[in-house]
């Protein structure tokens, strides 16, 4: 599937900012199954310094400083990407018991994977979380079979609730209240896996969404998404989305990979001055055909102005964009098909996180 993704972030400050420093994780990394055709980031005002480089995890990253006084800052990223992958097929390859994956992590051959067995700031376990995770890992169970089971349980046991957490909510709190958003579920699943000594990494990206029956796709109403990736020797890394209970295919677009959100936060910044600020984030994931035209269901054919969305203004101010599609939790728990990769639908277009 081919997509045009527009990820726009606009900051407004109550008083002028004298100096601003930012780190952007808004550019897609190179990964199998994804081809980047075009990618650009437009920043206003023009940065005094801009440095594009690769971070520790090989994600593209941009460091920038703005040294002129400003009250508005906009960072607009646009990407055209083709995704061709279906990792469900890979699942079958995983035969070795999870214990052998754990034990392999102390081999010097697996330094790269062992990195992702280590706890990070957002994935500090407790004995209770470890015990919850361990329920899916009966002795001798095949690695990915167990991860799939854990993914399903998290999906079942946790409620999607955008108001229940913020960007910094620790997993202990998420586990206690059994609710949160994609970032929380990803962190929680990572914590479970790492507590068992298993390699698992945090994936940040986008998800194709589908409008409710008979309604056009609403431009800019998407959001950043997050899921996890686990490793086994036979198949390598396989991505699981605990928010939607699935193994990823061409509806997930990978942006960056790290140990947790802290490694790949789309935009972080430190400013001098600025007073209070508001942030307006809009994400638009538009499926397009080979000519660049939007692929839509028959009902939204006339919504072609979405080609160049000007001012969606649908996303209210929020601390960091991070939510996935809303409403799918309820919907999926009603239609329990374990291999469902089918469309998930937003309940409300102008959602608040």
């Amino acid at each position: 599937m081919r997509y045009r993704i527009a990820h726009k972030t606009d900051y407004g400050y109550s008083t002028p900012v004298a100096q601003s420093n930012h780190l952007l994780h808004l550019s897609p990394c190179t990964i199998e199954g994804q081809t980047i055709e075009k990618h650009e980031i437009v920043i206003s005002p023009t940065p005094a310094n801009r440095h594009d480089f690769s971070d520790y995890f090989n994600n593209p990253v941009i460091h920038l400083t703005i040294e002129e006084y400003h009250k508005l800052l906009s960072i607009h990223a646009c990407t055209i990407v083709t995704v061709e992958r279906d990792q469900t097929e890979l699942l079958k390859l995983s035969q070795l018991p999870w214990e052998s994956v754990r034990d392999a992590m102390s081999d010097a051959d697996h330094v790269a994977e062992a990195e992702f067995t280590c706890y990070s700031n957002f994935t500090q376990p407790t004995a209770e979380i470890a015990a919850y995770g361990a329920q899916s890992f009966a002795p001798g169970r095949a690695m990915m079979d167990a991860v799939l089971d854990l993914t399903r349980r998290i999906h079942e046991d946790f409620d999607y609730d955008a108001t229940a957490t913020d960007v910094f909510t620790p997993v202990t709190q998420v586990f206690k209240q059994k609710s949160g958003v994609c970032q929380d579920f990803a962190h929680f699943e990572l914590t479970c896996l790492r507590a068992l000594g298993l390699p698992a990494r945090y994936v940040s990206g986008y998800l194709r969404t589908y409008p409710p029956e008979g309604q056009p796709r609403l431009v800019g109403a998407d959001a950043s998404h997050a899921w996890i990736s686990a490793w086994c020797p036979e198949a390598g890394w396989i991505d699981f989305d605990p928010t939607n209970n699935k193994v990823i295919s061409d509806e997930h677009i990978t942006l960056t990979i790290g140990r947790d959100f802290g490694d790949v936060s789309p935009i972080s910044g430190i400013i001098l001055g600025g007073g209070n600020h508001i942030i307006d984030v809009s994400v638009d994931v538009m499926p397009i055909d080979e000519n660049g035209n939007e692929i839509g269901s028959s009902s939204n054919g006339q919504m072609q102005q979405a080609m160049k969305p000007s001012s969606p203004a649908l996303s209210p101010p929020l601390p960091q964009s991070q939510g996935p599609v809303e409403g799918h939790v309820q919907e999926q728990s009603q239609s329990q098909t374990s291999d469902q990769i089918g469309p998930v639908k937003p309940v409300a277009a102008d959602r608040t996180y």
Partner: protein, 871 residues
């Protein structure tokens, strides 16, 4: 360097060892070692080791009185220099004060040769490990170090990978060493994050040799100066510049080791900076100074690496500056030690070090840790759990690095069954970041308890610093008492430290003071040219508060002395109360003490309120706490004597605690003492501070405060009712408070008249106590401060001061005093109701001076107040 001031009359030690032996009265001081435990001074046969002999004989020859005199002197110097762990600790807290053992620890030349080589080897090893871990990671890929051991450590700063080079890793290495009971050296901990403890080692040496300089010299002990000279040369070389701009980056005065940072900065002649002083401009780290942003070439890092850049490292860490990493990537700054060096402190590395040393250096590791296990390794974990009662369990990585402050390890033998289960669960989940060590019995060294010499277990922190080839090791160290059986980390609950003397068997080279080499480099002028805005701010307010305290003291002392005289008490009372109210009324909402038990009179009540009232603006207690804080903040800008002078206030409880009963005479004596201290401080700053911007801001603060106070007092006492009848006595009071009575009498030889007083206190530019003198000094200062080029225009502050000065210069005492015929009983109210030029002038001073303060603040200090925020 140690002996600059340390030479004492050669009386106490009675010359030499021979006389000490001959002194039959003293004899050797009794010392009993612990059987089966190695002791540094005395061997198993009870003989004193040869390198201790000088010291032991001299120490034995001291009479008990001499020993306690030395001990008292040592404590006094410790107290005065303020080698406290925590500068801003609550004085009422029972924290262990820093104390120095009267007995040093003395190392023999041969042992030192071995130690020096072994420590330098470890420093090279840790630097090599660091460079590998942040580079190709061959140690991980080839199985010398488990990946999970390194990568689960939070101090592994991932963004720093690939930014290392052979030369920029571990500049400062330190190791805590202890001897086991059999006399073998073991490593307890390694320190690669900051030069933690180096400032303390230096301060201890200077302090102890201040008291025992002769002993030090006679023992043929090696001085520390050459190590620091080597360090300066190395750092210069690293920048590739002749006159580099080098700064020590400290977390600031709230950090308990701030003393050591400031001490080291002053000793090395480097700037002491904090995160708030720095900014990244065009990928260079710059210092905010009065004269604009100045790029820094090298930073000696005394902050945790993780807190150096909130953008890419710990988001809550603001000890460095935003985009520090970007500057490093662009080679816009050199940092020693590099960010991320903390990783090699990990205690779990210990069991792997011997093999790593062979692999990386091709050498046998000379100096090792006591047996230790990393609990992330399955086999080690099983072994430790089955031998738990012999084990000490601790975290693999402890942040602090403060000497003696490692957390006590968990003693496996002391656990209850439930604690044991808890520990096992914890190891199961967090084994990657835990280690176990075998318990150890320590060798001892003599320690002076105050009345006898006893053997105590000890550990020493040794310091190494990178030079062009290899590492230089400080010939000395910081010894601490170690709690028995700790095998991991230096945990010293007593806070007792001692100096380490390294003796030489050859004649020592003549020593060159570090100051001489500094002067050659011109480091001082460099530091003076570019004062941090933050320091200027602090010095300005220090000047104001010191002057404010002086004013409070003069006013209170004069009030109380007057009270004791007999004549004219009633009129005097009015004058005095009116004068005291200039201070009292500045804090209208703060409580005034009531008369209390026994009934104080009004004057005593007000004096007591000014001196001891809490939370009272313009009260002494508030000024004192400001003075303490600001002096601490600006400490590296003052001479050590200046600090010691002010420390009289901070260390002496009489200035803080309200006495139960206030005997007027005692208070006057105390205030006299206070004025002497302040005079000493003023003299010190006048005579010893170079006339740089720092001095100017200190003086500006003082001048503004003095002019404001004097104008206020004149205004209040001249223009309040009752002047007519007691004018001469009231004027005399003003002269006394303004410390100008003697001058007045010698010059005018008449009882005070208003015209003469106005002339002397307001208009006379030669009287250092007059308003005109202050304004004239301010005019000079304001013109000398760095300013933006405003061609042909006078700056705002310049215009303001010029206006005040001109007004004073164009006035004339007799005209101003034309509040005519006081002796003809003309009603004063009537006079005031007329346009009175004197009152107008005083009011002008009183309103314009605070404006000047605001303008200076806005122009020179404000950009230091802008706090970075995370979005």
């Amino acid at each position: 360097m140690e002996l600059d001031k340390a030479t004492k009359p050669d009386n106490s030690e009675s010359g030499n060892a021979a006389t000490a032996k001959a002194n039959s009265l003293a004899g050797p001081i009794p010392y009993q070692t612990i059987p089966g435990v190695h002791d540094e001074m005395m061997d198993s046969s009870g003989s004193i080791m040869s390198h201790w002999q000088h010291w032991f004989e001299a120490f034995s020859s001291w009479s008990p009185a001499e020993r306690s005199a030395h001990s008292d002197e040592l404590n006094e110097v410790v107290r005065e220099t303020g080698i406290a762990y925590d500068l801003f600790a609550d004085p009422n807290e029972t924290a262990q004060p820093w104390s120095i053992d009267l007995a040093p620890l003395i190392l023999a030349p041969t042992e030192w040769q071995w130690l020096k080589t072994a420590l330098a080897q470890r420093a090279r090893l840790f630097n090599a490990i660091h460079n590998d871990i942040y580079g190709h990671r061959r140690l991980l890929h080839e199985g010398y170090l488990p990946a999970a051991l390194v990568l689960s450590d939070q101090s592994y700063l991932r963004p720093m990978r690939w930014h290392q080079s052979a030369y920029n890793g571990v500049q400062f290495y330190a190791a805590d060493l202890a001897k086991s009971a059999d006399g073998t050296w073991h490593v307890l901990d390694n320190h690669t994050e900051t030069p933690a403890g180096l400032g303390f080692a230096l301060a201890n040496r200077i302090t102890l040799t201040h008291c025992e300089g002769n002993l030090f010299r006679k023992s043929n002990a090696i001085r520390l100066a050459s190590y620091f000279q080597q360090l300066q040369a190395t750092l210069n070389k690293r920048t590739g510049l002749d006159d580099p701009y080098i700064a020590i980056l400290s977390p600031g005065p709230e950090h308990p080791d701030y003393f050591a940072h400031a001490y080291l900065a002053r000793y090395l002649g480097y700037l002491l900076v904090e995160g708030g002083d720095l900014v990244n401009q065009n990928n260079q780290i710059c210092l905010k100074t009065l004269a604009g942003l100045k790029p820094i070439d090298l930073i000696i890092r005394s902050i945790e690496g993780a807190n150096a850049d909130p953008l890419e490292l710990n988001p809550a860490g603001f000890d460095g500056t935003t985009s520090m990493l970007q500057a490093i990537r662009n080679k816009g700054i050199i940092i020693a030690n590099q960010l991320g060096t903390s990783i090699v402190e990990n205690r779990g590395f210990a069991p792997y070090l011997p093999e790593i040393c062979k692999y990386l250096l091709g050498e046998e590791l000379m100096l090792r840790e006591a047996p230790r296990w990393w609990l992330g390794d399955r086999q080690s974990r099983d072994f430790v759990l089955s031998n738990l009662s012999n084990m000490l369990i601790s975290d693999a990585h402890e942040g602090s690095g403060r000497p003696g402050e490692a957390r006590a390890a968990i003693d496996g033998a002391a656990l209850s069954p439930s604690e044991k289960t808890e520990l096992i669960d914890k190891i199961a989940l967090f084994g990657n970041s835990m280690v176990a060590g075998q318990k150890m019995n320590y060798a001892t060294t003599p320690s002076w308890t105050g009345d006898k010499l006893v053997p105590r277990p000890f550990a020493i922190r040794f310091f190494a610093s990178r030079k062009e080839q290899g590492y230089d090791v400080l010939p000395g160290g910081l010894s601490m008492s170690v709690s028995a059986e700790q095998a991991i980390g230096l945990h010293s609950p007593e806070g007792l430290t001692r100096d380490v003397w390294v003796t030489s068997d050859t004649k020592l080279e003549p020593f060159e003071s570090i100051w001489a080499s500094l002067e050659r480099q011109g480091t001082h002028s460099r530091a003076g040219r570019s004062l941090q805005s933050r320091i200027a701010d602090n010095l300005y307010w220090l000047g104001r508060n010191v002057e404010r305290v002086e004013w409070q003291f003069r006013l209170c002392r004069q009030a109380l002395s007057r009270l004791n005289e007999d004549s004219g008490p009633e009129e005097d009372q009015r004058t005095i109360i009116s004068a005291l109210n200039t201070l009292i009324l500045r804090a209208p909402k703060a409580a005034v003490f009531d008369a209390g038990f026994g009934g104080m009179n009004e004057v005593e009540r007000l004096v007591r309120t000014i001196l001891y009232g809490k939370d009272r603006a313009y009260g002494f207690q508030e000024s004192l706490s400001h003075m303490h804080r600001l002096a601490g903040l600006a400490r590296d800008r003052m001479s050590s004597e200046a600090w010691r002078i002010l420390n009289e206030f901070f260390a002496d409880n009489r200035w803080h605690k309200e006495p139960g009963f206030m005997h007027t005479g005692h208070v006057v004596d105390l205030l006299d003492k206070g004025l002497m201290i302040l005079a000493a401080f003023s003299g010190m700053t006048m005579e010893n501070m170079t006339r740089n911007y720092g001095w100017r801001f200190l003086d500006i603060g003082r001048r503004i405060e003095r002019a404001e106070n004097l104008s206020g007092l004149l205004n209040r006492l001249i223009f309040s009712s009752g002047m007519s009848s007691d004018a001469p006595r009231r004027l005399m009071f003003i002269l006394e408070v303004a410390d100008s009575f003697i001058t007045y009498r010698s010059r005018y030889r008449i009882s005070p008249t208003l015209a003469a007083v106005i002339d002397l206190l307001l208009l006379d530019e030669t009287n250092p106590r007059s308003v005109a003198f202050q304004i004239s000094a301010l005019y000079d200062h304001v013109n000398s401060l760095p300013k933006e080029p405003e061609v042909g225009l006078r700056s705002e502050e310049n215009r303001l001061v010029l206006e005040l000065l001109t007004e004073l210069q164009l006035s004339e005492g007799n005209t101003l005093a034309h509040i005519p015929h006081l002796d003809q009983n003309k009603d004063l109210e009537q006079i005031i109701s007329e346009q009175c030029p004197l009152e107008k002038m005083l009011n002008n001073q009183i309103t314009k001076l605070p404006q000047l303060s605001e303008i200076l603040t806005r122009r020179y200090f404000t950009h230091t107040e802008e706090q970075p925020q995370r979005i």
